[in-house]
Amino acid sequence: MREPLFHISKRTEIALVKAWLIRIAAIALALVLCAIVTFALTGLNPLRVFATLVDGAIGTARRRWSLLQGTAILLCISLAVTPAFKMRFWNTGAEGQVLAGAMATATCMLFLGNRLPSPVLFPIMFVCAVIAGSVWGVIPALFKAKWNTNETLFTLMMNYIAMQIINYFVYQWAVPKGSGQIGIINGDTKAGWLPAIFGQSYLCNILIVVVITIFIFIYLRFSKHGYEIAVVGESENTARYIGINVKRVIIRTMLLSGAICGICGLLIVSGTDHTVTRDSAGGQGFTAIMVSWLAKFDPIVMIFVSMLIIFLQKGAIEISTQFGLNKSFSEILTGIIIFFIIGCEFFINYQIHFNHSRKEAKA
């Protein structure tokens, strides 16, 4: 009988050191491939390109702050989608939930910004953002719980509705007329802007996300809710058998997911851009899905993954600035690195057996 050259089996366990060795080897291989591609396509010295990538991400104090800020926003959305993912509720609607929070925040800043004192304004903004985000998240959950609709498509469609709502209002409130832009809101009074701490305008965002990270970590790991989410994710029948109200868990978890996305919308509008457009979330609602998966739903690992992604993104911009290369080129490099990182998880979860060695063993 002809046997294939190798076969694959699932690993039962892998030593932590070995897993990390595989990951480091994957990144090293990715860098080698990037170097070859760089040289072949541009003729530039790959080492200089890598140095520029690092410089673009952490070369100056401003860039390090910007890296932390970008990480915080991406991490926040990744944390938001995680409880739903753990429950095997495929929430692809983070983009729309963030936009709903962003729109609510911007509306408060526009219409209440210069009328209310900050101690009153901020709680109102916060509550509105949370409500908007969780409403956007809970609608698909209600349909899923009640009629078992497909949540992947439903949440995805909700993204486009959110974008169009923003488009509509941005056009209505555009300055100057017809320009399709709101511009910075309350630029003169800074009403509704999250305050700078120690002169750092991003520190407030970062601290809020640190708190959310700790909260999600504890919530998933040590709370009864977290346990229920894990059981529903493993098997809905088991959950029902042990008396968990599955519908309630789905709705509750999506309320939480949406609420955190709403807070992220607040951080983007009130703490970063100070305006709202359909691109306010910038596609990060989708990147966050990848981050959450790559981190295997572990909030602490998510810190690293989101930082890595932002690191690569910032580095990529610098490469195109320094070498006059099209931005697509640096995206090729980023793509190669992420592909290897995702791909190496296969070798951590599975083992490859070459069949000739087994024959030798038999003989």
Binding site: T60, K177, G187, D279, I303
Partner: protein, 400 residues
């Protein structure tokens, strides 16, 4: 054990980053003589709009012998503010951004960095913002559009004479981005140029609600073609409308630059703003330590408003000669694009109009812009403010 290790590593990483952030960024002093320019672009060279700026920037910096850095793909968000500050960190003492939505982020960076000059194309607020180092620039592109309109009118006349269409069938289509003054001023001048040689012309305008959306622009052009438009022009930045025209074999008058390579059979001519004169002026001012104009409006005379070469394959005979003739008249001031004798609004001629020149949220009309019998476009600020709906032009979807 594993979790503890991971948590420790995380804490270490965050701490090291925070510690690193404490060091001040290096900041090179601008000494008034060496100039380094930082450019911020919304897209990259794949957008006709941005490519037009990028080519001007390269040429101007080479001519002036100065260094420059470019950042492409910068959205109209806080990323623009960050890009500006990053360019300053790298020694740039004059920053230029090319997209309308960059303006408020540029203004924020300008008010925090008074030693650096900030120049912005298409913006409207520099003359009221009270920020000394923030400057707007534009060009009297309505004159270029008018000339392009003359070329369109010549083509329509040719089609009428050859019997391809009737005089009443001389209907043009126009793909616009938004119902924004810049767009309205553009298509109205284009229309008036065409009507100056082809009196029976009418025009339909379809808006896309986006400055750059290839699919929407192509669809809009398609709608106009289905409505019986026999010539198309556009004010949106992708190749959507020109390609739709090439596929349908309908003549196209383009914007931002020649599209002859993609549309060899249908491209007639294109008007464009040449930004090189402004960039050179801006660099010269910084070299000499002179103030840059708060509102700078380029013109045909400064070399800022240009028409590309006419494509003889698609254009009517004698188009180039006619363009040259009308161009000379415009330069001498013998004719005015928005001459009130040449258009009516709601059936009546206008002799007075208050425009919203000083941008505000309530769109308050604040400046009388009609005198000496014509509408004075781009004189009270560089960005256009002509937003009248004149007779003969039909807006198909004014929702945007």
């Amino acid at each position: 054990m594993k979790k503890v290790l991971v948590a420790l590593l995380a804490a270490l990483l965050v701490l090291s980053c925070l510690a690193g952030c404490g060091n001040g960024g290096k900041k090179e002093e601008a000494n008034g003589k060496t100039v380094k320019v930082g450019f911020i672009y919304l897209h990259d060279e794949n957008s006709t709009y941005d490519r037009n700026f990028m080519e001007g920037a390269k040429a101007a910096c080479k001519a002036q012998g100065v260094e420059f850095l470019e950042k492409t793909g910068i959205p109209e968000t806080n990323a623009c503010y960050e890009a500006a500050l990053d360019l300053i960190d790298h020694g740039c003492n004059v920053i230029f951004a090319d997209s309308f939505g960059h303006e408020s982020f540029l203004a924020q960076a300008a008010s925090e960095n008074p030693d650096v000059q900030f120049c912005h194309a298409t913006g409207t607020t520099a003359h009221t913002a009270n920020i000394a180092n923030l400057h707007n620039a534009f060009a009297s592109i309505y004159e270029g559009r008018y000339l392009a309109g003359v070329a369109a009118g010549m083509k329509l006349n040719e089609m009428i004479e050859s019997g391809a269409i009737t005089a009443e069938g001389a209907k043009m289509g126009y793909v616009g981005a938004y119902t924004y003054a810049e767009v309205i001023s553009g298509y109205t001048s284009f229309f008036l140029g065409a009507r100056s040689v082809c009196p029976s012309v009418t025009m339909q305008v379809q808006f896309t609600g986006s400055w750059y959306d290839e699919t929407l622009e192509k669809e809009a052009a398609q709608t106009l073609l289905n409505n019986g438009c026999v010539l198309i022009s556009q004010h949106a930045d992708s190749m959507g409308a020109p390609t739709a025209c090439e596929e349908a074999g309908v003549p196209n008058v383009s914007y931002n630059g020649s599209t002859i390579s993609a549309c060899p059979n249908t491209f007639i001519v294109s008007s464009r703003i040449n930004w090189q004169p402004y960039f050179e002026y801006m660099i010269q001012c910084v070299k000499d330590g002179k103030a840059i104009d708060t509102d700078w409006t380029g013109s045909i005379a400064t070399g800022s408003v240009e028409l590309t070469a006419v494509n003889d394959k698609a254009a009517a005979e004698g188009t180039q000669a006619k363009i040259d003739e009308v161009k000379a008249q415009l330069e001498k001031g013998e004719i005015h694009v928005f001459d009130c004798a040449n258009f009516t609004v709601g059936g009546a001629a206008i002799d007075s109009y208050m425009a919203d020149v000083d941008t505000d949220e309530a769109y308050t009309p604040d400046t009388e812009v009609v005198k000496d019998g014509y509408f004075h476009e781009s004189e009270f600020r560089s960005a256009p403010y002509f937003d009248l709906a004149i007779d003969g032009i039909e807006q198909l979807n004014a929702a945007y």
